[in-house]
């Protein structure tokens, strides 16, 4: 008679389904399919899709690539709380390498609004979390994987990169920065 007793009908499979119950199942199924289609639709028509492009790398190899970009395009050095960061302004379309490590994001990039860049993400030690604020874009960063994402900043301003994957005692001090300027400046 109840859910804690065996079903009173031996052949319960043949019992008819309540009409409203069936309606609800149909609605829920349609909604599930709609949500499935939505993800694919966004891949085709949406502008915010996480790239799949990823390479196996090593910490040394990745750090060397980042260093090369920094050496080539550094425009000035920023000093924040006695810590110096190169501020790097690469041309639109270039590969830019962001290093996540205990406990900073390095270097600081200065990008132009409306231009596209190939942002590379990798970690030097533990995993880190790339959390771009106040945009609120959050991406997992692994050591030994080079994740390449084409980004197109749509608004000028000062952005922060908060680490949101726990990475030890100094985790809360791991905040980086990114500048986006209006085009033509």
């Amino acid at each position: 008679m109840s859910a804690i007793l065996p079903p009173s009908e031996r052949i319960w499979w043949n019992q008819p389904i309540d009409k409203l119950e069936f309606t609800w199942i149909a609605i829920a199924l349609v909604w599930s399919l709609a949500m499935f289609v939505m993800m694919i639709w966004w891949h085709i028509y949406g502008n915010q899709n996480l790239a799949n492009e990823t390479y196996k790398t090593t910490k040394e190899m990745y750090a060397a690539k980042a260093q090369a970009v920094v050496d080539q395009y550094t425009v000035r050095t920023g000093t924040e709380a006695e810590k110096q960061f190169p501020i790097v302004k690469p041309p639109a379309g270039s590969d830019i390498y962001m290093i996540g490590r205990l406990w900073d994001w390095w270097p600081i990039y200065e990008l132009e609004q409306g231009k596209t860049y190939k942002l590379h993400l990798s970690a030097m030690d533990y995993m880190h979390g790339f959390s771009l604020q106040p945009q609120n874009i959050n991406i997992q960063v692994h050591p030994n994987y080079d994740h390449v994402i084409k980004i197109t900043p749509n608004q000028a301003g000062v952005y922060s990169i908060v680490c949101n994957e726990y990475c030890g005692i100094g985790h809360h001090t791991m905040v980086g920065r990114m500048y986006v300027t209006k085009g033509g400046e």
Partner: protein
Amino acid sequence: MTTTYRICPRSGLQFDKDAEKLMRWHAVAGVLALLLGGIMALGVILTRWPAVKLLEADVFYMWLTAHGINMLIFWIIFFEMAVLLFASSTLLRCRMATPKLGWVSFWLMAIGAIMTNVAIFSGESSVMFTSYVPMQAKWHFYLGIILFAVGALITCFIFLGTLVVAKAEKTYEGSIPLVTFGALTACIIAIFTIASGAVILIPTFLWSLGYIREIDSLMYRTVWWALGHSSQQINVSAHVAIWYAIAAIVFGAKPMSEKVSRTAYFLYILFLQLASAHHLLSDPGLGSEWKVVNTSYFMYFAVLASMIHGMTVPGAIEQAQRLKGYNKGLFEWLRKAPWGNPAFSAMFLSLIGFGFLGGISGVMMGAEQLNMLIHNTIYVPGHFHATVVIGTTLAFMGLTYFLVPVLFKRELLFPGYAKMFPYLFGLSMYMVALVMMGAGTLGVSRRHWDMAFAGAPMAYEWPGAAYLMMGLTGIFGVIACVSAGLWILQIVFSLLFGKKLEEGETRSTPIPLTLPAPTPGGAAHPPATPGTMVLALIFLTAFILYYFVNWKYLSSLWGMA
């Protein structure tokens, strides 16, 4: 070997004495883990409350690790093992298979739980519940979890063995009850979960001893979540089974359709584990096709199953109430429900909170692109406090009120508090989940000691609203912790000092179950359930609106391809 049975005079249930003792020990061990996890919760919440910031960073991360592991693994799985024993030997009125092995399993779990806690509190193992590599904990951190899992695995097989015993000794006729079917679902998922855990935690344990040089971080996350997420599916199956059980105990409710409910459970077995892929949506190295297929095609079948249970449980209650004559309008059945019975009110708050808060937010996180808005923000703990605390823990706590007289044979002390508790704890957890999700929508990180970034060279300033939300998380979190603490005291005091209740008849042969004669031609036209349908449609409307609000938010972000 003789088995003795006790017939509980209060519920009519028949307990195998061995199984009964094991159930009591598992439940008590679970509540002890809950107590420890709850104390940790208080420390964590008082640290994340920006105006209080109680603990130092190292202690905070240690307590946060202990909170996650004691709550998500030790409390819930200890309790679930009790549920498995109850759903098999008690509901099928049979003897339990291999009671001695049951004790081996219990002590393995207990030793494992103690070992891991020792590792955490002796420091150098503050690696969080997820223990992501390459961050390394002490070897006994991993070994404790492995021992605990082996113990749980043995109990899973004892559960299956008990089903075989019941079938062979013909203690029931026809199919197993729906609640046992739900427990069987939980058991099958548990076996899968523990196997996945072994695949990743045994190498990680060897790595911590130095026998393995490196564990790939992406592989770890991929396999670990087959443990980490699937273990939450054990909870879902178990607490849905408890919803059905409480509906049956309190209302005598009969499932609207055995076929639908069982098929929905079956969908869990087929698809829920694949949902673990939604933890990896913002990771590199996995293709969009893989992400979309696993989280939508497969996960949505599981979501569908939950939406079905979410309707059939209140639907069954509505039918039972309407049969009793509460037929006025859409909602008389609900208004006249026993809101003062804590087993019912806990179950109903669990159901609504799990659906509206946990379910909807879970699907947001499970949409590939939307995940980028949420990944690793405090939205995530907001979501799982709605599923695991409001959904699972509250249901378990409600059931415990039923178990005190039935299983522990004691009269409940402070019944006035029992009436109040589900609302006090449940609704404050609703608020905790909501404000955490609010703060997460503004970007606030999870697992983070200081949202003011003290000592960071380039601190980011969160919007004022984020501080407000985290302050509210603190306030409601403290209310939830204190009310749960009082619940533990109430249960412990009742078990120690409550009036001893009559044992009931003891005998050495099981009484076969007598079933009421089936009504010819199915249940004679059960009443329709328009009230439940209206609730379900309100849910769907909220779901759809919130879903598209998130896409709108996403569309305003930087272009990414």
